[in-house]
């Protein structure tokens, strides 16, 4: 009797995972994962090390080929495509424009020896921007948006603190206005005080830009603050899924109850 509520812009899923599995030899790292993600929706994948959450992220972002199942993505022209059917050039184009990928270690997502401005500008040049002034202006705007002192634009990120590096990595990813961002433990290597600032920043950017995001984290506080929905993984399987506050406040599965009850109060 309850009809689904839809709004015109987000009634079509952006990404659909269908029966995704990945085996490494005899190890089933990821088993039969299915879900769909809508534009503007933030999904957290939580679980301990070895639960398969990072493997799943690699499958979803086409960095690993699944042993079974498929990932489909709605391209900017509105057509849903199976990622496995994309050519290498198309996949690379997705990565450069419509997707972002924020690594836990900023050194993996940045070029540490070139300037911050170039790190951001490079993504724009990759999609054909060639006017130096416009690239620099846009890079400047993005450094401001991620709260990096513009006076540091010509410095290389190897001279930046961990928190600044992570903010720079986010700017580099968002400058091409992606619709989907993958994040792998985005606050993982940072001090707690730096984490709070980064989380607040990410939360605002995600909602202002109506970004969809898939965030892998072992930190339930990160999931609560950033995500609308959560998937709990254990042994390669999704064991519980739902609205984030529902899963965290009313966990149903034994393992989820264990995770939630294991948080030490500050």
């Amino acid at each position: 009797m309850s009809e689904p509520v839809t709004t015109p812009d987000d009634d079509q899923p952006l990404l659909i995972a269908d029966g995704l599995s990945k085996n490494f030899g005899r190890l089933a790292a990821c088993r039969d994962v299915s879900f769909s993600l809508h534009p503007g929706e933030v999904l957290a994948i939580v679980g301990e090390s070895g639960s398969g959450k990072s493997t799943l992220l690699q499958l979803l972002s086409a960095q690993l080929a699944p042993s079974a199942g498929s990932v489909s993505y709605r391209m900017r022209d509105g057509v849903l495509r199976d990622l496995a059917s994309l050519g290498e050039a198309e996949r690379r184009f997705l990565f450069r424009t419509d997707w972002g990928y924020v690594h836990q270690d900023p050194a993996q997502g940045l070029r540490m020896a070139v300037s911050a401005g170039a790190n951001v500008g490079e993504r724009l040049m990759a999609i054909g921007w060639n006017h130096y002034g416009r690239i620099r202006d846009t890079a400047t705007t993005w450094l401001e948006r991620v709260e990096i002192d513009v006076g540091r634009i010509d410095d290389a990120p190897k001279t930046y603190s961990g928190g600044m590096r992570q903010r720079l990595q986010i700017a580099r990813n968002l400058v091409t206005a992606p619709r989907l961002v993958f994040m792998d433990e985005p606050t993982g290597g940072l001090d707690v005080s730096v984490q709070a600032r980064l989380l607040d920043l990410m939360r605002n950017l995600v909602s202002e830009l109506n970004l969809a995001a898939i965030v892998v984290t072992h930190d339930l506080a990160v999931a609560r603050l950033l995500s609308h929905r959560v998937m709990v993984m254990k042994g390669g399987r999704v064991i519980e899924t739902g609205l984030t506050d529902q899963v965290l406040d009313d966990p149903r599965e034994p393992y989820t109850q264990l995770l939630v009850s294991s948080i030490l109060p500050p």
Binding site: M1, V5, R203, H228, Q246, D250, S261
Partner: protein, 232 residues
């Protein structure tokens, strides 16, 4: 159905897997409805399941059996079977919840904590801040505090920030969990006024209040939760 909230035979049981799978029945056969412009107060002793019922109506706790119908944009959503996305849309456009404690994001200024539900609903930030400021003023939060995050405020101040955040938007349903618990008489009176204004605008409310005086002032009907708990 003209009711904004229509609950029939809703039930909730916690299964505590870490305690050997103990079943903790919270409520069962919860049935009541709330009309527009009406404030229903849940009564019953501590532990009877009043807060759990509010959380179920907000979609924060899952409903194990029965039905929780919410009138949302002209349609009825049944929370016992709704998709997460539907629950989120429902919270954005229809159901507000004033919890007992403020759960604020570190670093966010009080005025923005209060304005956030409006901004999320599409109101321009400047206009949202104006409305937030008006409410903070009514609730006697000094203007010098508005730029600060509320995490360092006193319990009563935090609760007033929480109330401002809950009352700032024009949602047709409002759930209030002890909105006056740690407030002084003057601020309690403000909250009673705010609730009256919401009623006049047709807002359907469900409230938990322990203070008898406040309960008499705001309740149009009282639903005794004890019967739901006893049946569990």
């Amino acid at each position: 159905m003209t009711a904004m909230i229509e609950i029939s035979n809703a039930a909730k049981t916690f299964t505590m897997h870490l305690q050997g799978g103990v079943e903790l029945p919270v409520v069962s056969n919860v049935s009541f409805h709330v009309e527009p412009g009406e404030c229903v107060v849940l009564s019953g002793p501590s532990g009877a399941g009043k807060s759990s019922i509010l959380k179920m109506i907000f979609g924060n706790y899952r409903c194990d059996a029965g039905r929780i119908g919410i009138r949302h944009q002209g349609k009825v959503i049944d929370l016992s079977s709704a998709e997460p996305r539907q629950v989120l849309t429902m919270r954005r456009a229809t159901v507000g919840y004033v919890s007992q404690f403020l759960r604020a994001v570190p670093r966010v200024a009080t005025i923005d904590v209060v304005a956030e539900p409006l901004v999320a609903g599409g109101t321009p930030r400047a206009e949202a801040r104006d409305k937030a400021a008006a409410l903070l003023r009514r609730l006697n939060i000094p203007e010098r505090l508005w730029r600060l995050p509320p995490s360092t405020f006193s319990g009563g101040e935090q609760q007033r920030v929480n109330i401002a955040r809950g009352f700032v938007s024009d949602l047709p349903i409002l759930l209030l969990d002890e909105p006056t618990a740690s407030l002084d008489a003057a601020n309690r009176a403000v909250v009673v006024e705010l609730i009256d204004e919401k009623k006049r605008r047709g807002v359907a409310m469900v409230a938990i209040v322990h203070d008898d005086e406040i309960r008499h002032l705001i309740a149009d009907r009282i639903v005794d939760v004890t019967s739901f708990a006893a049946a569990a």
